[in-house]
Amino acid sequence: ADKVIIGNEGTYPPFSMITPEGKLIGVEPELAEEMCKRMKVTCEFAIMDFKALIPSLLQGKVDVVGSQVTPTPERKEKALFGIPVVYNPDTYVVRKGKTYEFTPAGLKGVRIGVQRGSAMATFITSQYGDAPVVSLYDNPDQIKLDLLAGRIDMTYGAKLNWTAELIDKPEGKDFELAGGDNWSGDTSIAPEQRGSSWIVRKGEDELIAKMDAALKSMLDDCTFTQIRKKYLSVAIVAAEAACVAKEG
């Protein structure tokens, strides 16, 4: 393929966002641009709701979903996953001073907000059944608003994002992370290989192989880490370890 259309959501800082000039920036778009350069293809971004990304991929409207997708059994049936671009474990965000026991009994009646159509939503229902009161949101911003407003007691979502978007910010002073790191994806995946990836349609084995090769080379020469550092201070994949160590 000479031209690859990459789907991205544009509303997921710091991984993906849009500047006032209307430019798509963030960890993932920049990684993707570098990847395309190395693959010697021209890339074009299509920005859409996260929920529309996978259907658009399946319908051929985009060639790659360039927003981190957590592998679940259902998704793996439909698409090919590349190497992880981010291991972003999921965690709970709760009000400071509240302790919960993360079992169906412990969360009985507790109000949890999660994103619609996400692996996290599936995880919560599979873990706790209908014990907690689950509210479904279209995007994490709405979850944050309701968390602040007190409509929900906790949320369950990507640790990196919640740290950057709430805990590290002044309005997040009353909140803390809880429940440790969790993996909402396919549990059959070995822990060291866990992580969210970019995906392509089934049958595009050639494309995914080229992408993986390009990403690997970026990891190896530490370009990956340089790009990541522009937005985030901590490593996002295990494969970064060498580069992180080198720089001390």
């Binding site: 544009g10 509303t11 997921y12 800082p13 966002m17 849009i18 500047t19 006032p20 000039e21 209307g22 299509a46 920005i47 859409m48 709701d49 529309a52 259907p55 658009s56 319908q59 051929g60 409207k61 995007n139 911003d141 608003l145």
Partner: protein, 235 residues
């Protein structure tokens, strides 16, 4: 407020582009719906024959189901539907339905059903004498329709048309859910990137209120023009 500025410092220009897309979507959708609705109205004009029933079935489906579902259906399934329709003819096409195309098609088909009903009612309300006078004067069909009946029907249908336009305009908001970068989508993106949702949503709200408020005086102008001759000159 500088977040709403035009140019590189704010999202004003993005919103504006979004607004242009929204307007384009609404205008194309409405015009197509009008043409198609008119065709349906004329098609189903006469009494309760098979054509009327066919129209009822069509209207029942397209007005019975939310436009959002029809937009989704066209967006995610449109290519397949068209391929399915064409393949018996031996035509194979590679085609992709853009959100804009899906939006226009869905809005046009849905609102054609509403407008068809409206226009049909208006035509039936044109006094029968107007048709008879034309017949008695041997006026050709084409002139009967385009110069006598439709102008008068338009006058009767106008308030309903204005109403439908406003409803359709607001319905365009749904196409953002299929990935079109219209005003609502731009407002969502700006809100997501800046974490200032209220400013952008209020701006979007004002845009819709403004357009629909402008519609009414505009319609009044058109009405006055169409009403030419209907008003009794007060002496």
């Amino acid at each position: 407020m500088e977040l709403l500025a035009l140019g590189d410092t704010g999202y004003g220009d993005e919103l504006l582009f979004g607004a242009v897309i929204t307007m384009k979507l609404a205008v194309y959708g409405f015009l197509l719906a009008l043409v198609f609705g008119l065709a349906l109205a004329v098609f189903a004009l006469k009494g309760k024959g098979p054509r009327w029933w066919l129209f009822r079935v069509y209207a029942s489906v397209f007005t019975g189901v939310p436009s959002l579902l029809i937009i989704f259906l066209f967006y995610f399934g449109g290519a397949e539907i068209v391929r399915g329709l064409l393949s018996p003819l031996g035509i194979r096409v590679k085609l992709d339905v853009s959100p804009f195309a899906a939006g226009v098609a869905a809005l046009a088909l849905v609102y054609a059903a509403y407008l068809g009903d409206l226009i049909r009612g208006a035509i039936l309300n044109v006094p029968k004498g107007q048709f008879e006078a034309c017949e008695a004067l041997s006026v050709p069909r084409r002139h009967l329709w385009f110069r006598i009946v439709l102008p008068q029907a338009l006058r009767l249908a106008l308030p309903g048309l204005a109403n439908t336009w406003i409803v359709l305009l607001k319905d365009t908001a749904l196409v953002s859910l299929a990935g079109l970068n219209d005003l609502i989508a731009q407002a969502k993106i700006a809100a997501g990137s800046t974490k200032e949702p209220f400013m952008f949503f209020t701006a979007a709200l004002l845009f819709f209120v403004l357009i629909s408020s402008l519609t009414l005086p505009l319609v009044r102008q058109v009405a006055l023009r169409l009403e030419r001759g209907q008003r009794r000159a007060r002496v």
